[in-house]
Symmetry: C2
Subunit: 337 residues, 2 copies
């Protein structure tokens, strides 16, 4: 360590001084800090991690950088982590299981102190293996993926219920649902829709159309892509509903479009509610009423769970948060006949 030489002290003392240990005299400390500054010295996380056994690094594994849903969760993770002195590193897996596993591996090899997985993609066994080495928290998956893995999720059934009740309170009865692929989240939303319709005595009006064949292991949410979504939206509108609850904002956008083309634009022609409250909801016209997951809070909570694990907790925890409905311009009372 050349800083030690420059300041004329031992490397041990440099280490102490830079960490602000109070057992170093003020004069010496100043001399050391000055030398470090002059030499542009930065401590080496690698070496420190090696000897200390922990790195104060938190890894975040993402499937999809471009997904604004994910990025806000990341912000929550970051805020909470930084408050506790951790540094957050992101690894980007893309929509590719093998890559995802590789990136997770890379994080583990860096000896991160914990991993937050913002994605429902990784395979359970990969997660379980990771969880054997460091705490792992998964955000956004409604069921528990693997033993040893904590989860934070939003309550999809409650979100669906809020959407349907909002429409019912506006006076709608013929409320249809545009379902998603068979992934867990969309399944739960559909179940919530059906249940609420039943509870409101509207079971007779229950109408569902979905994109994709419902294959659980489809390549993407909305297998078949935009075309399939548009077709399903058109079909659904053909059944003559006065309101549609869509499984996500993209699906809601498809409904908005088809409704516009069919000459009954929202909200007068048909009311539309989306899910996830992505930036889309703000940019689309009319602005979209959408169910909002408390993403920032979910991220913070994930970090909290991670730190609890580091603190010694051993039993698994699964947190479920209730989403809020954000009412915008795409919903209104039904047009009187």
């Amino acid at each position: 360590m050349d800083v030690a030489a420059a300041a004329g002290v031992s490397k041990s003392l440099v280490s102490l001084a830079l960490r602000g240990d109070h057992g170093v005299s003020a004069a010496t400390s100043a001399r050391i800090l000055d030398a470090a500054e002059r030499l542009g010295y930065r401590s080496n996380t690698l070496a420190r991690g090696l000897v200390q056994g922990r790195t104060m690094l938190l890894g975040v594994l993402l499937t999809d950088l471009a997904n604004p849903y994910h990025t806000e969760v990341v912000s929550g993770v970051e805020e909470a982590a930084e408050e506790r002195g951790f540094t957050v590193l992101l690894a980007h897996g893309r929509r590719d299981r093998a890559r995802l596993a590789r990136q997770l591996d890379a994080l583990l090899q860096l000896n991160v102190d914990g991993v937050v997985v913002v994605s429902s993609w990784p395979e359970p066994q990969v997660l379980a293996a990771a969880a054997r080495r460091v705490p792992v928290v998964m955000v956004g998956r409604p069921e528990t993926p693997a033993p040893g893995v904590d989860t934070v999720a939003n309550d999809d059934r409650a979100g669906a219920e809020a959407a349907v009740r909002h429409l019912a309170e506006l006076g709608h009865e013929r409320i249809a649902h545009l379902a998603g692929s068979g992934r867990p989240a969309s399944r739960a939303r559909e179940a919530g829709y059906r249940e609420t319709m039943r509870n409101l005595g509207l079971a007779a009006h229950t109408t569902v159309r979905g994109v994709g064949g419902g294959s659980d292991h489809g390549t993407d949410s909305g297998t078949g892509g935009a075309g399939s979504r548009e077709r399903a939206a058109a079909e659904l509108l053909a059944t003559g509903p006065t309101a549609v609850f869509a499984t996500n904002d993209l699906a809601a956008l498809a409904v908005l479009d088809r409704a516009h083309e069919a000459g009954r634009p929202a909200p007068g022609g048909v009311s539309v509610v989306g899910y996830d409250n992505t930036s889309l909801a703000e940019t689309v016209r009319p602005r979209l009423t959408s169910v909002d997951q408390p993403r920032l809070v979910m991220g913070r909570l994930a970090t909290g769970l991670l730190l609890e694990r580091l603190g010694g907790r051993v039993e698994d925890r699964h947190e479920v948060l209730t989403p809020d409905l954000v009412v915008r311009a795409s919903t209104a009372p039904p047009r009187p006949r």
Copy 2:
């Protein structure tokens, strides 16, 4: 190393075997790999980095995770990096200079072999300091920020020219420009607009309105936020243009909105061109004609420059790529009077 014990060999041989060195007999190699597998062993990047002096890690510093412009560049960086066996780590600075500097520091302390900065935010002196330790490439900034830092940018003037020429070829003459804040990119686009108008003999029709006061160090692109953008768009439309070239897609969206409200919706009432070809361009109605930066290529190029530096290049390089115009539904010939 317990794998060594389990396989009954020295730690050195384990190291060789795991790296696939051919000087290890097939039988022993199999025994070692088997033991490693059984024990769930992963090599420690920290220790390796310490002794080798390089980590095969590439750091990417981002200002804004939620910005789809940035994320596609990141994909390009990743693709190219992985082809060469590097692992990419992302650090997220947010729109905060201090945080950005801290995150950059964190990357450097991890001994990454190079850094790609996808942002025009970091202060030159911070970049210069980083560049003294490892290669640094900056993506998306039109001018060179600091000596020792390579850059990759799109040619904003050429992009503006393509947009204006497209409108002129459709038959427009009264082509106005909705300018951005005074950041370098928007200044270059405005300059390109003015120049092309002159070259086409349309100088007399040059009309510019901008958001924000033009303060270069504004807090954000579009200081004053959406409100200011809307107001500027309304003012611009009041001057009676038949076409508008907007400095980015968000600004274009504002024009689209105001035009709709003013009873002359695009493309019949007024033609609109945006810049950046964000996902907005695809979701908005009518779909937006927009100038597209070759983001994937820019990312790949950035990685290439980084590796060239690692290979020993010493002189700075500044690559400028020409953007493409993507024509969609928001532009059409002017309505005959």
